[in-house]
């Protein structure tokens, strides 16, 4: 017997309302999507043991139906992580590179021993599918905000790779979309909880007393991309790769997803990324904010120090914490506490579900809780990186009003809180 307890787009109501809603959409409807995308299946419907589930795997009706957008280096890892979960049914992927689409689809189809994974060049077709519950996004950064917001508008939960934003204005818009539509939206740094426990545990236990300062070392700053045109050596939808970013000619380094930030990948260039400040900054700044328990705050001052060894920054937080960036002769994550002081301990926030950022996201999709890297917290990390990039670009200190999301009375800096998007992309 086919169960009618099947979820549909928007059926997982938010925890703010405190209940779940089940609909009567039939199992056959979902399977038709799995089989043939948006087309109506003509063949008779056969219930398989895979659909019904077993002791090791939930029935199809209880799995989270997922898809991925941007299946390059990071996206491939994310895809494999979600594909490996028994409580996920992975049904579609999207990438502007033909070879990536073919490889990614083959990976999914091999996992399920079928040909059902739908491959898309245009994310809008994927997001329009009502059978998909959640998407993971691992495109270059200049696409993150548009994709996340559009996914929320279409009732999808979102796991978005870090750095979640390219500009300051994008963050509040992403948070607003998530809250508006009651979506679970998680940022993507697995290192924030995974790599810094040796710092987190003693600080949260109160052993270091009041934390006065912490230092983060990341580099480099983003650079302008002016690479020359190259013959296109791959089948790629170049206009869609560029998307909202300024037009530039195809160059394999411009669109390379390599992890280096030295001018040979999109991570290096300001049109697509905040450079090392956002790329590794998402991890290190994210870790520093977690260690010091200021994940919910944004700094009020960014002080620019023009030292002989090179410029560095000190951010001041409303609670008095000073976060420094590239402070001379200071180790990454060097923490200055208050000697002799012991503060009351507090429990360290952890992942929900199994012990991974992916499990945390999936568990929250099921329960409607906020994930460990809830988009609002992830945005607060990205803000540190963006504020820093602006201070370095303008070569001076800045004041920041987090409530108004502006630099008070600073016309130049305020212009750099966002940038116009290439038509027809609108945020």
């Amino acid at each position: 017997m086919v169960t009618s307890r099947i979820r549909r787009r928007g059926d997982r109501s938010p925890n703010t309302l405190g209940f779940f809603v089940m609909t009567g959409i039939s199992q056959a409807t979902r399977r038709e999507f799995l089989k043939a995308g948006a087309a109506v299946a003509a063949a008779p419907y056969v219930i398989t043991s895979t659909a019904l589930g077993n002791a090791d795997r939930p029935a199809a009706s209880d799995r989270i139906v997922m898809a991925g957008i941007g299946i390059g280096n990071m996206g491939r890892g994310d895809q494999n992580a979600f594909l490996g979960r028994k409580d996920v049914q992975y049904v579609a992927m999207c990438d502007v590179r033909e070879a990536v689409r073919e490889k990614s689809k083959a990976t999914v189809d091999a996992k399920y021993n079928n040909q059902d994974c739908q491959a898309y060049n245009d994310f809008r077709e994927l997001l329009a599918r009502p059978d998909i519950d959640a998407v993971h996004i691992a495109t270059p950064d200049h696409w993150h905000a548009i994709l996340t917001i559009e996914a929320c508008r279409n009732g999808k939960d979102v796991y978005c790779q870090k750095p979640e934003t390219l500009t300051l204005r994008e963050g509040p818009l992403m948070v607003a979309a998530a809250r508006r539509y009651g979506r679970v939206v998680s940022g993507g740094s697995q290192r924030v909880l995974g790599d810094y426990r040796k710092y987190v545990d003693p600080v949260w236990a109160g052993e270091l007393g009041t934390i006065k300062s912490i230092n983060v070392n990341v580099k480099p700053l983003p650079m302008l991309c002016n690479l020359p045109a190259e013959e296109m050596a791959e089948k790629i939808d170049w206009d869609l790769w560029l998307g909202p970013a300024p037009w530039g000619p195809y160059n394999s380094k411009r669109c390379s997803g390599a992890y280096s930030i030295n001018g040979s990948s999109w991570r290096s260039f300001s049109d697509y990324s905040g450079g090392g400040m956002t790329d590794w900054g998402a991890h290190h700044f994210g870790g520093a904010l977690f260690i010091c328990d200021v994940r919910e705050l944004q700094p009020t001052e960014i002080n620019y120090h023009d030292a002989a060894d090179g410029p560095w920054l000190s951010y001041r937080y409303p609670n008095g914490l000073v976060l420094t960036h590239n402070r001379p002769k200071t180790d990454n994550l060097a923490i200055e506490g208050t000697p002799g002081e012991k503060r009351p301990g507090k429990p360290v926030p952890m992942y929900k579900g199994d012990n991974s950022i992916y499990g945390d996201f999936i568990q929250c999709v099921k329960t409607r809780e906020r994930p460990f890297r809830d988009i609002e917290l992830a945005v607060n990390t990205a803000v540190v990186s963006h504020l820093g990039n602006i201070a370095y670009q303008l070569r001076r200190s800045l004041k920041w009003d987090a409530a108004r999301q502006e630099f008070p009375g600073d016309d130049e800096a305020n212009r750099l809180t966002d940038r116009a998007r290439r038509e027809p992309w609108v945020l």
């Binding site: 928007g10 607003a176 002016n226 212009r415 940038r419 116009a420």
Partner: protein, 237 residues
Amino acid sequence: MSAESLTAALTALQQYDWGTDTAVLAAIDDAIAAAHSNESVRKDLEARLIAALQSNLSRDAKDCVCRKLMIIGTAACVPAVASLLDKPEHAHMARFVLERMPAPEAAQALRDALGKLDGNLKIGVIGSLGAHRDTGAVAVLAPALRSNDAAVARAAAWALGAIGTADAAAALQATLSSADGNKSPMIDGLLACAESLLKQQPAAARAIYQSLAGDDQSRLVRLAATRGMLACASAES
């Protein structure tokens, strides 16, 4: 930063194109940093950048000029920049300058361009007016909600949502009630307006949410409206 190095950088723009080492423009960035505390430096730099923009430069070089004017440009550069809004190769970078500029002349130039453009160029300007949160643009954006070009209508709905005033909400409500086709962008715009109005005009926000809470709306929208009404109740109490 010396006057000679700035002149050399501006001269280098004449040969600048894809593949040119960006270091040749470093002196312009130095001048921008210096301009913050020196109005005469800023004014001189802006004038020279305007002259460059109006000369026969490559697309890439004009892009670079717009990136600099985005930071230091004033009403003085608006005519030169706005003249690029109908040029497919330059329109985006012209909006780089105008969208972020607080001078009222910038928003006016975008509004003026709206009626002369179609397709993607029009969508771009609509998006810029929304991002600019130009409250004076509601009257020119409202007709775009009824555009036969669905992408134009969608962009207008989102732009009005970004502006978020009671006037913007009224324009969306007026069109929504008689609209055919995909109403989702207008509903999204209305929800965004309600969020903007919630603190200062909770009654207006609540009216929007109530209008979207009926059974004729999708479950996603009904839940959004219900959450909004709860937020209004909280704000009013």
